[in-house]
Amino acid sequence: MFEAIRENAGTIVLSLLLLGAVTGIIAKLFRDKKKGKSSCGCNCGCCPMASSCHKA
């Protein structure tokens, strides 16, 4: 058992890291969606329609 874990240590660690990254991405996508944030980089500020949504 211990031997098997030690032999595949690299695979296990790497797949856990990958799993963590994927979970993080999904969580971030959900969080952004809940916040109503669009996935574009500069948010409402650089949208040409911004002036009609956010009246000064």
């Binding site: 690299g10 695979t11 990958l18 994927v22 980089g41 500069c42 040409p48």
Partner: protein, 545 residues
């Protein structure tokens, strides 16, 4: 001057040609090619140190490997890489003086094959000498010249990661996931970054100096005729390179209806990722006719005009006429900081997306295409067992949908589906599914001319790749509109392909009466929408501006 009635258009065409040329040809293509072939490819020579020597060696080495293996196959002697000299001598002894073989070379990008008949024993002797040569300055070992042996060699990311994975003794499935899935998929997308940054820079400059406002003014009169805004031209022009920045460029269109229409129609223009696919169909089935590629662009433009007019007459796009009110700013030099910031904001959002949505989708596709039920057990598949994968199974279920278009096979269906991940995938998938070096012959055997053209047109017009769908989703900022755009694109592609295949059948004597009636019905609907249906647009402006 630039808004002059007559001079405005030619000046605009020249400016846009320049922007396109700088972004796509002068800077973009070399930069993108460099990223794809080197950074995400095998590797590169640092500052070009050693590249020239390697190229010279590779040119001299030529088709040596292919010639040797053609003779080896013909005379049943295997070339032993451990001890090549002995096996080559055995081969030379076995080949008679008057021997002639045909060897086949393949183009890496389009998978086009070329036959070289009449290769004699002299060629074999030359090839054997090249193979064994360790001449100083030519190559350092037997076999093909190794680029790493010249100058300063920096291995590509896949090679680096592979050696890292080997070092920690990673399992095969993990290696496959990271190399074939994540790096291949995300790398292909990141390859567009340099091209897009240049393009965004130039567009930001045109916007900031005040020219963009004037372009829209000049083009508005023409584009209004088929429901688009004057600013729609820019996204379409950019769309020739890649649909993603094309769709993003629609941000400059303030009017919501015009912007949505532009987003929906921009990807009809064949993007650069579709070019190898067009070349493949032209080469395999139409004897490399240049008309295939030319017609692809004309079909794209016709699709924009036709669907623009048709969409404009639907309820979704009806409503108040958008007033074209625009302040024309005085010309001025923009500040460098402004232009750079604008470029970086747009580019960074693209890079972030590659790290999130695209990363997830590449993992999913890798899983679907590499796993399946083989020999009664669910397991990871070998390279040549692709037809057992989950993706192939699903393709088999829905292949019947494409039967009226003439390509109802699971291979063509799967190629179309993987084309959704990235259009470059179509060529790669066809290459795997239609068997390696004989791809062209197999394609010619399984497609008739009309069916192949219908297949080409469907893949050119249907929903773009996921990256572009993501861009559509972001620019529309509304799920309903995104789905409507995808449905319209797929429906339009289906209708056009149906007409091509069914009406084409009339000329080749391959008539299916039900299909023909359906195609005729589609044509009638289109003609009605184009020429007879009235616009639902209001003629009065009620909105306060």
């Amino acid at each position: 001057m630039v808004t002059n009635r007559f001079l405005g258009l030619p000046i605009f065409a020249a400016v846009m040609f320049l922007v396109y040329w700088i972004a796509m040809v002068a800077v973009g293509t070399p930069a993108t090619d460099w990223v794809n072939d080197n950074l995400f490819g095998d590797g590169y020579h640092l500052f070009g140190n050693g590249a020239a020597q390697y190229e010279k060696a590779a040119e001299r080495y030529g088709d040596t490997d292919v010639i040797l293996s053609a003779f080896a196959e013909q005379y049943g002697i295997e070339i032993d890489e451990e001890n090549p000299e002995a096996s080559l001598n055995a081969l030379l002894a076995a080949v008679p003086e008057d021997a002639e073989v045909t060897y086949i070379t393949q183009d890496e990008e389009t998978l086009e094959t070329e036959e070289h008949p009449g290769t004699g024993k002299a060629d074999l002797q030359a090839a054997a000498a090249e193979y064994l040569s360790t001449e100083d300055g030519y190559k350092s070992g037997v076999g093909a010249p190794d680029p790493a042996a010249y100058g300063t060699w920096v291995p590509g990311i896949p090679a680096l990661v592979e050696s890292g994975l080997d070092a920690i003794n990673a399992a095969d499935w993990l290696k496959g996931l990271i190399l074939d899935g994540i790096i291949a998929g995300v790398g292909a997308v990141l390859g567009f970054v340099p091209q897009m940054l240049v393009l965004f820079f130039l567009l930001a400059f045109l916007e900031a100096c005040g020219y963009m406002a004037r372009i829209a003014f000049v083009l508005d009169r023409i584009f209004r005729k088929f429901g688009l805004s004057g600013k729609s031209f820019i996204p379409m022009l950019i769309g020739v390179g890649c649909g993603v920045p094309g769709i993003m460029a629609s941000r400059t269109i303030e009017n919501e209806r015009d912007r949505r229409m532009t987003i929906m129609t921009t990807t009809f223009i064949p993007c650069s990722a579709k070019v190898p696919f067009i070349a493949m169909i032209a080469g395999a089935i139409f004897q490399k006719s240049a008309w295939v590629a030319t017609s692809a662009y004309f079909i794209g433009m016709a699709a924009i005009i036709v669907s623009g007019i048709m969409l404009k007459k639907t309820k979704r796009f009806a409503g108040e006429p958008a007033p074209f009110v625009m302040e024309l700013p005085a010309y001025h030099w923009p500040t460098l900081g402004n232009v750079l910031r604008s470029m970086w904001e747009r580019g960074w959002s693209f890079i972030k997306k590659a790290g999130t949505i695209i990363l997830l989708s590449t993992i999913l596709v890798w899983f679907l295409s590499r796993f399946g039920v083989a020999d009664g057990a669910f397991r990871m598949l070998e390279e040549d067992e692709l037809e057992l994968s989950i993706l192939a199974k699903v393709g088999g279920w829905i292949a019947w949908i494409f039967a009226p278009l003439g390509f109802g096979t699971w291979q063509a269906t799967v190629a179309s589906i993987t084309g959704l991940i990235a259009k470059e995938n179509i060529v790669g998938t066809m290459g795997i599914l239609y068997g390696g070096t004989k791809t062209y012959a197999n394609l010619a055997a399984s497609f008739t001319g009309i069916a192949a053209y219908a297949f080409l047109v469907f893949n050119l017009l249907c929903a773009p790749c996921f990256a572009a769908i993501g861009a559509i989703r972001r620019e529309m900022n509304n799920a309903g509109w995104t789905w409507f755009a995808i449905a319209w694109q797929c429906g339009f592609a289906y209708a056009v392909s149906l007409m091509i295949y069914q009406f084409g059948g009339l000329f080749t004597g391959n008539v299916n009466i039900i299909g023909l009636i359906a195609a005729a019905a589609v044509l009638c609907v289109m003609i009605y929408m184009l020429f007879f249906k009235k616009y639902q647009e209001a003629t009065k402006l009620t909105r306060k501006v």
